[in-house]
């Protein structure tokens, strides 16, 4: 369990945990604001953003792709609002029109451009590549102290760690604003809070978290982590503070358990190869949500107890 674990499992697992937490935190507020599917829309439009960034710069580098994806996310939010207002169309349909169109554009651009030399394709975008983010320079736990080995860490790890801590910091700093504007927008407005800015900031934070996570783990985990841990946490408690803590716990458990099950589960069952870690993490988060739906202490709506 020593050296092999550090070399092959520690870094992917950490990346999975950071990505999950970074997505789950804004997810709490998105769910309470009934904007859960913004996460879905964002993770779809990340693809065209990244492709455009690649076509403009010609390299697969972190910063341009991050900018491209964040730009696409903001563009998508603006388009959704515009279609909703100008066409007087309900939000769900406006969202559906926007993200499918942008995604289709992204796929077309990808097919049209020569990306065979770089690692950029739709399947990779969906499923990520968590298993390949190994730490080859590590020998055992003592490598954590070895500068030479640390320099060989997969570059996704520091990136997602920074984003994760930034999201945590933002959540803490804007905690009161977020809480007030999420639960009572009118009251927040009366207090003079910039409600529109808070909403937009939340979406942009979610977009940045999605993009950073997407780079490492693929869009499927991103959607799952935006929704499943916060939704399960919502069924566990009535307090926002406790809900957020539950969601972080669920996100960490999903990431670790999902990775372990994907990597070692098939071996226990006698198969030889591992299965997709990203898919398994999403599956585990779904299982947690299912359990919360069945047994969570606050699973029913207030006043609906008698029905069940």
């Amino acid at each position: 369990m020593g050296s092999e674990f550090v070399m092959f499992s520690l870094t992917p697992m950490l990346i999975g945990v950071f990505a999950s937490v970074a997505c789950a935190l804004p997810g709490n507020f998105l769910i309470l604001r009934r904007q859960a599917l913004i996460g879905d829309a964002i993770s779809h439009v990340v693809l065209p953003g990244i492709v455009v960034a690649f076509l403009l710069t010609g390299v697969v580098a972190a910063l341009p792709m991050l900018l491209g994806a964040a730009g696409a996310a903001v563009l998508a939010v603006i388009l959704i609002e515009a279609i909703k207002r100008l066409g007087r169309i309900e939000p769900g349909a406006a969202m559906g029109v926007t993200f499918t169109t942008l995604f289709a554009g992204g796929v077309l651009l990808l097919e049209q451009s020569d990306t065979s030399s770089v690692h950029l394709d739709v399947e990779h975008a969906l499923m990520g590549n968590l298993e390949s983010l190994v730490w080859l320079r590590a020998t055992d736990w003592s490598s954590l102290m070895d500068p030479w080995a640390l320099a060989g860490l997969p570059e996704e790890l520091p990136r997602i760690a920074v984003v994760c801590f930034a999201v945590i910091l933002l959540t803490l700093v804007f905690w009161r604003w977020l809480k007030i504007s999420t639960f009572d927008e009118g009251f927040a407005q009366a207090l003079g809070l910039p409600v529109g800015m808070i909403g937009m900031g939340l979406v942009i934070t979610a977009a940045v978290a999605a993009v950073a996570a997407f780079d490492a783990v693929g869009s499927i985990i991103v959607i799952a982590m935006f929704i499943c841990p916060p939704a399960a946490a919502r069924l566990m408690t009535n307090g926002l503070e406790r809900q957020v803590l539950w969601s972080v716990l669920f996100a960490v458990v999903s990431a670790v358990a999902g990775y372990v099950l994907a990597g070692y589960g098939p071996l226990w069952l006698g198969a030889e190869d591992a299965v997709s870690a990203a898919g398994m993490i999403a599956t585990v988060s779904g299982a947690i949500l299912a359990l919360a739906c069945l047994f969570g202490p606050h699973r029913s709506r207030v006043g609906a107890q008698a029905e069940a």
């Binding site: 859960a36 309900e90 499918t100 169109t101 289709a104 935006f226 898919g279």
Partner: protein, 405 residues
Amino acid sequence: MTPLIEALLLQAGYNAALVAVGATLLGFAAGAAGTFLFLRKRALVSDAVAHATLPGVGLAFIIMVSFGGDGRNLLGLLLGSAVTAGIGLLAVEWMARRTRLAEDAAIGAVLSVFFGFGIVILTVIQTMGSGRQAGLESFLLGSTAGMLFQDAVVIAVGGSLAVLATWIMRRPMTLVAFDAEYAAANGVNVPAVDRLMMGLVMAVTVIGLKIVGLILIVALLIIPPVTARFWTERSNAVIWYAGALGGLSGYLGAALSASAPDLPTGPIIVLVSATLFLVSLLFAPVRGLAAAVLRHRRFQRRVHRRQGLLALSRSEPIHDELTLRVLRAEALIRADGVATETGRAQAAKIARDERRWDVAREIHQDTGLTGRYDGLTPIEQVFAPDEIAEFDRRIGGPRAVAGGV
């Protein structure tokens, strides 16, 4: 352009013709079935259904292979996908009804979890002996290259059945989509109709997997109905407009993608559909942007015309630029701002109607009539000539004054 015209005339080869016919039928079925979903404001449920097909495709493949079959039989794969799509749909409904989670959270949860599980199954298949060539990834974005005749038949028959079912069930589904409570009071079994509606959506999704793939099939269910809504206010018409728009997108998209390399069918169909949407958003006759801007301009001019004429009748100076321009354009005032003959006549009429309205409000307590006063509606449109004559009699003034002069 020749390859495009060939493709449009179904002359670009056997496979391209098959795909074009299949895509047209699929687009029509998706547009018509998606209309009810859109009117019921549940468009994104289809996204959950579409993503939930993936594990079914994988499991069906595994089952068919383990029974010694080929594993790539389209009908079998589609049946499998329908099963998990159905489970996903039930999960969404159960979560939205039984727990405090909103429907959008339930949609997102089912979508991501089922899709993630599907990816797990795909990786399992890749490690199976016969799995390498399974090509199940093509169901993500659709793949029309090398479509078999029997695949086209499956799509054509499925699409036709979906259209037929839509036509048969259009009345109860329209009722439920517009006002579920009224429908329930009328004895319509709302949950059953809802389930049927979702069943239709599921069928279209499953049929569309081969051509547009599970990520983009929602576009065909959502965009054509939204587009059709711009062109008509009648529910029956929306269904067939949406079907026609969807069919057109499918046909044009398939032809376009056949006319040049590197144009994947699914995304092209979606982009054609999105283009039709954009054109409608801008130029549709009543609900379009251009029409709205024109309407606003016309309204603005009417208000300015009236305010200007009122000012003329009271001999007040007019300073507003737009008012002056409107009045000049109709030759109601001269370039130097003095009222012309017609201008004075119109101003007098507006002033007189204003007096008539005052009287009307005194006589009629009925706000249904006097409430229509907005300064722009001519009084002749609200009251009958004899009523207006009565107002004039009460005003009495003009005759006396006219006699005096």
